[in-house]
Structures are given as structure tokens and as C-alpha cells.
């Protein structure tokens, strides 16, 4: 029935895609955490113009399927970037870019929207009074954010950040549509020779199970550490 030998082989082939998956995830998070945070602050400050623009962007990303976003970005970004580079008179050949850059762009654009929402609701939870309290003890805005708001914000946002991260890892499985050499595509290409798709998907499932469980465990651990702040300032 099942070809267990192939299942085992394919498990390791799928495993070899983990670094790419993690790289895409980390880069996207690295871009979207600061940008999402800034977007969240922009939206709270109620400057109408930015609030509207960012609001439309967030609503579009949250309202459309990931795969459709990938289709759109993958077919439009190269041409857009090219005209952009021509405009700046940069002499870069955009088509020499590794396809992984498309993945960075797609998943960053997506995560920025998701994270800005997470930060926004977390900011609402800690923002106002805390900021005023910080001012009253003589901290500058920057200090207040760094010392008081961000640590608490992280505590509030951590469960959602954990969700967003696992969702992002899962979403990279759609990278096959961009020829991204991640877990799913590698395992599937290996399965094509003998049409062992069932085995391939079991292997892929196991790898994701392992990966996401580890990430969740990591977050839980970190969250415990962070809780210190919550009680520390309460």
C-alpha cells in the first residue's frame, strides 16, 4: 500500500526544505515587525489620511486568499520593480534576482498587514494611560516606548504573534507557486517520479507538525519569561 521506504526518504527531502522555509519566515517577520508596528502607531494617531490608506491595505490583505496574493505579486512585481529601477536609473538586472526575493516580498507584504492589526489591538490595550504615566515620571516618548510600552505590548501580543508565525510558516507551503524550493515543493518533486503523492503529503505533514510544534514551544517558553514584565509593572 504505502511505500514506507519512499516515505522515509521523502521525509528527509522535505526536511531539507526547512532552512528555506525558516529563512523566508524570519526575513518576513524581520521586515514586518518594525513596519507593522509603525503602521499600528500611525493608525492610532488618527491622522485620517494614513489611517485610511493603511486601513485599505490591511483590509485587502485580510480579505483575499494568500494564493491569489501570490499570483498577483508574482506576475506583477518584476515589471513594477523594473520600471521603478529604470525610473531611478539604477543599473540592476532585476531578473537576475533569486526567486526567493519574490517570496520575501509576498510574505512580508502579507505579514505587515497581519502584524499591524495585532500591534494595533495590543497598543489599544496598553497605550494611553501608560504613556501619560511615563510622561509624568519624566520619560521621553522614545524612552516610554522602549521601557514601558513595548515590553508590555509584547506580553499582550505574544499569543497572537505566535499564531501569526505558525500561520506564516504554513503559508510558505504555497511558495510552490513561485518555484520556492521549500518543504512542500521539494517533497512533491521527489514524489513525481513514481506518483507517491500520498507518501509525500504524509512526509510534508510530519515536517510541518515538527516545525510548528517547536515554534509554539519556543513562543510559550519566551512568553513565560516576558510575563515578568506584566507582574513587574502591575
Amino acid at each position: 500500500m504505502l511505500d514506507y521506504e519512499f516515505l522515509l526518504d521523502d521525509f528527509f527531502i522535505a526536511l531539507s526544505g526547512v532552512p528555506i522555509t525558516l529563512l523566508v519566515t524570519l526575513i518576513s517577520l524581520g521586515v514586518s515587525i518594525p513596519v507593522g508596528f509603525i503602521f499600528a502607531i500611525f493608525r492610532l494617531d488618527k491622522s485620517r489620511f494614513w489611517n485610511k490608506i493603511i486601513g485599505v491595505y490591511v483590509s485587502f490583505v485580510r480579505g483575499t486568499p494568500m494564493i491569489v496574493q501570490i499570483f498577483i505579486v508574482y506576475s506583477s512585481i518584476p515589471v513594477l520593480l523594473k520600471s521603478f529601477f529604470v525610473l531611478l536609473q539604477w543599473d540592476t538586472d532585476i531578473y537576475k534576482l533569486n526567486p526567493i526575493w519574490y517570496a520575501f516580498i509576498v510574505f512580508s507584504l502579507n505579514s505587515i498587514a497581519i502584524l499591524s492589526e495585532i500591534f494595533r489591538s495590543a497598543l489599544i490595550a496598553v497605550h494611553r494611560e501608560q504613556l501619560e504615566a511615563a510622561y509624568s515620571v519624566g520619560l521621553s516618548t522614545f524612552q516610554a516606548y522602549r521601557e514601558i510600552i513595548i515590553p508590555q505590548l509584547l506580553v499582550v501580543a505574544m499569543p497572537n504573534l505566535c499564531n501569526a508565525t505558525t500561520n506564516l510558516i504554513k503559508a510558505t507551503s504555497l511558495g510552490y507557486a513561485m518555484s520556492l524550493q521549500e518543504i512542500t515543493l521539494r517533497a512533491k518533486v521527489a514524489a513525481n517520479a513514481n506518483y507517491n503523492y500520498v507518501e509525500a503529503y504524509i512526509a510534508i505533514f510530519l515536517v510541518y507538525l515538527l516545525l510548528c510544534s517547536l515554534v509554539e514551544y519556543g513562543f510559550k517558553h519566551y512568553e513565560k519569561k516576558l510575563r515578568f514584565y506584566k507582574f513587574g509593572t502591575a
Binding site: 504505502l2 483590509s59 498577483i72 507551503s173 512542500t184 510541518y208
Partner: protein
């Protein structure tokens, strides 16, 4: 860009896509129905005093939380017939929409299970006692007191689960189901893979409008119930 981009394709593909909202709609509704029932069962299991049930429910939710939809979809579509073929049960005549429904019901049940559990835990246990003291039975207390309040807490999560169900449903194209995304791909194939971007843009637009519609409905429902909440609290 102007060499390929032709707005006419956006406009002409929308009426071709619109009839397929029906398929996407039914997939969503049926998966939501079964997913809600399953989710409720697993939430009850998670909250039950029996260790075995808790463990089973926890394993179930972890596994589903860590599985990308596309992997779940393929495991359902290729795996279920394979497993049943051991018992000489042939599913060859079963329509693919059934496997799509199974996969997305499972996915949805996981989100709903979490929504139910957090909502239940958010209701103050004192409320039950208060209900008993005014002479309500346990069932009455659940129905009149706990359920309405829990629902208000659960609404945003249910909304998110529903929207992500609609979005993830787009992946059904990968096994050849002709829903909105499937039809978009047929249109593109009919144009020999040309002008894909335009078709995907109209597809994204339709999904976006659907999501906004769902949000509107939930906003309304929340509005009705939050009135009740305020009254109950006072």
C-alpha cells in the same frame, strides 16, 4: 507593462467569475456547518474533566493547527480513498467537492474549537451560581446566561474563522474543483496562460468584497448582542 496589461480583461472576467460564487458559498456554508458541530464537540472534550478526552482533543487541535490547508486538502483527497481501499471500499464515484468539504470542515472545526473554548472560559463562573439562585436549571442557565455572553466573546473569532475558511477554500483549485479560483484558472488557461494578472485582480476584488460583506454582517450581529451584554451586566 502596457504591453501586457489590458484593463479589458479585468472587466470581462468579472461576469464570468460571478456565477461561481455559488460554489464557493456552498462549500463555505457546509464546511462551516460540520466544522461548528465538530468544533463544539472538541471544545466540550477540552473542557471536560476527563483526561483522555482532553488529550485527544489537544492532539487533534495541535495536528490541525500545524497543517497547511493545502497539505490537509491533499491528504483528504488522496489519503481517504487510499485508506478505505484497504477495506475494499471504493470512493471513485465520490465527487471531489466531498473531499474539499472534509478538509475544510476539519480546518474550520479547529478554529471554532478554540473560539468556543476561550469564550466559555471568559464567562465568569459566578454567573452560573447566580443563575441557580434565581431557580434556573443547569440547561436553562447555559441557554439563558452563559451562551449569550460567550457568543459575544466568540464573535470576533468566529468571524476570523469564517473569513479564513472562505480564503483557504481558494486552494480547492489544486485538486481541480471549479470554484471561484478554479474558474479564474480556467479563464487563464483559455487565454493560453496570458493576461493572468488581470484575471487574478478581478478574482481578488471579488474575494475582497465577500470578506467585507461578512465583516458587515458580523458587525451587525455584534451590535445586536452587545446591547444584550450591557443589559445583562447592569
Amino acid at each position: 507593462m502596457e504591453k501586457y496589461f489590458d484593463v479589458a480583461y479585468i472587466v470581462t472576467s468579472i461576469p464570468l467569475l460571478l456565477p461561481y460564487i455559488e460554489i464557493t458559498f456552498w462549500i463555505t456554508v457546509i464546511a462551516a456547518f460540520w466544522g461548528t458541530i465538530l468544533g463544539l464537540l472538541f471544545a466540550v472534550a477540552k473542557l471536560s474533566p476527563y483526561q483522555v478526552l482532553q488529550k485527544i482533543a489537544a492532539a487533534y487541535t495541535t495536528a490541525l493547527r500545524c497543517t497547511p490547508s493545502i497539505v490537509l486538502l491533499f491528504m483528504s483527497y488522496y489519503g481517504i480513498p487510499l485508506v478505505l481501499s484497504i477495506f475494499n471500499i471504493s470512493l471513485d464515484a465520490v465527487d471531489k467537492s466531498v473531499f474539499v468539504l472534509i478538509a475544510f470542515s476539519l480546518q474550520f472545526s479547529n478554529n471554532m474549537c478554540e473560539a468556543f473554548r476561550t469564550a466559555y472560559e471568559a464567562v465568569d463562573p459566578g454567573q452560573m451560581e447566580a443563575a441557580y439562585t434565581i431557580g434556573l436549571t443547569q440547561l436553562q442557565a447555559y441557554w439563558h446566561i452563559v451562551f449569550p455572553q460567550a457568543l459575544v466573546v466568540a464573535l470576533p473569532n468566529i468571524e476570523n474563522a469564517l473569513i479564513s475558511l472562505i480564503k483557504e477554500g481558494a486552494l480547492a483549485y489544486t485538486i481541480g474543483l471549479i470554484d471561484l479560483t478554479g474558474k479564474a484558472n480556467l479563464i487563464i488557461a483559455g487565454n493560453y496562460n496570458s493576461h493572468a494578472l488581470e484575471v487574478y485582480l478581478s478574482l481578488a476584488f471579488i474575494y475582497w468584497m465577500i470578506s467585507l460583506g461578512v465583516q458587515k454582517v458580523f458587525y451587525r450581529i455584534a451590535h445586536i448582542f452587545s446591547k444584550g451584554k450591557r443589559l445583562l451586566l447592569s
